[in-house]
Symmetry: C2
Subunit: 225 residues, 2 copies
């Protein structure tokens, strides 16, 4: 079983310091919510976010949405050969169940994440679709019990998608770690938990593109072409 971890993901509820900002309260109110219940989103909270530490890496649920849809659309996931997790900026892990159909609509995805982060789980028909747990990245890696943790980053050792996939497929329970942020590198905390880091392309690639390519190559290794 391969585990994909979307790490340092630009997904979080509005942090406390911004909850009284007028634009933040107004955008929450327009959706009938309080500002501590909504996701931080650069497209609505850009001005307010300028005060935040690391603001250029935060508040991009759309990027996490695409990355998750990409991973969940693979045969690998639909055949239960892939487990999908997110580790959020600020230290929460999200575990996705098997055969979960995420909403393709961004607004519905945001609503689902807000529900998850408030209630700690999303259950449907007695089945746990999503679970969120306060947990640092090391704790997530421990819980997964991965035999090898491989990160993809332009700061890593030059390699290619195919070689990385062969490497992952040679392990019983490997974890593949892809950054869920728009620019920059893994945080020091995340980087310290990676056994190996590879750079798979000379050019910067969006997270969903990296995920599509890495999972495709891994899939050809384990499910055939």
């Amino acid at each position: 079983l391969l585990t994909l971890i979307i790490a340092d993901a630009a997904l979080e509820t509005v942090p406390e310091s911004l909850r009284d900002h007028t634009a933040v309260r107004r955008s929450a109110a327009s959706r009938g919510k309080r500002s501590d219940e909504v996701l931080l989103d650069r497209s609505y909270h850009h001005a307010a976010m300028l005060r935040l530490k690391d603001h250029s890496r935060r508040g991009r649920p759309d990027l996490v949405h695409f990355a998750l849809l990409e991973a969940a659309a693979t045969p690998l996931y639909s055949e239960d050969r892939l487990r999908i997790c997110v580790h959020m900026f600020g230290g929460k892990a999200i575990f996705m169940g098997e055969q979960v159909r995420l909403p393709r609509s961004y607004l519905r995805f945001v609503g689902l994440m807000e529900q998850l982060l408030q209630e700690g789980k999303v259950v449907s028909g007695g089945r746990r679709l999503l679970e969120s747990v306060d947990m640092d990245f090391g704790g997530l890696v421990d819980r997964i019990g991965a035999s090898s943790v491989v990160g993809l980053s332009r700061s890593g050792r030059p390699s290619g998608f195919e070689a990385v996939a062969e490497d992952l497929a040679s392990e019983e329970d490997a974890a593949l770690v892809v950054g869920g942020f728009p620019r920059g590198h893994f945080t020091a905390e995340t980087a310290s938990c990676l056994d190996q880091v590879f750079s798979v392309n000379r050019r910067p690639l969006e997270a969903h593109v990296v995920i599509a390519r890495a999972l495709y190559e891994y899939e050809t290794q384990v499910l055939g072409k």
Copy 2:
């Protein structure tokens, strides 16, 4: 130069027969538009659409949005080695310029497409970003001047992404045709213009997954790993 054509795409303005439907008028009005100006969208117009011919293949701009974002996120496109076109259900072609950054927000994408279909083009800074032309699929293929037109469909001859990519890369100006609809096969009109049709996976794959994989394999052929 490779051309990607997203064919029989589930993207169109609300057809005349549905423009007076209450739900359609209401959803258009909520965006300050008339019902002949907005895109047909299953998530708002589901009930009204049940009257429509081929309704299960229509009204999915979200699917076309993902497919376009996937293609435009490749190094292939950013290095001007890929031309991207859409052929819409009902017979209009969309030509995308070079280095166009499409909106990641679905609502902004819908607004952009509505503007394009009304005005016939979208220009920014003197540069034509998008153009829409009334044209059947054969006309689009002629205008592209493709030396070989290759479709991907589960009804095609069994092959693989890598083999298809090698085939495309061996041509000077090949066109790759991927269906832009949620289920079913190419329309007869589209199918009649394809030189070859390959099935690249035993499982049904979403358009954006097919595009990610096919363009990745093509890219490794022409730009290296």
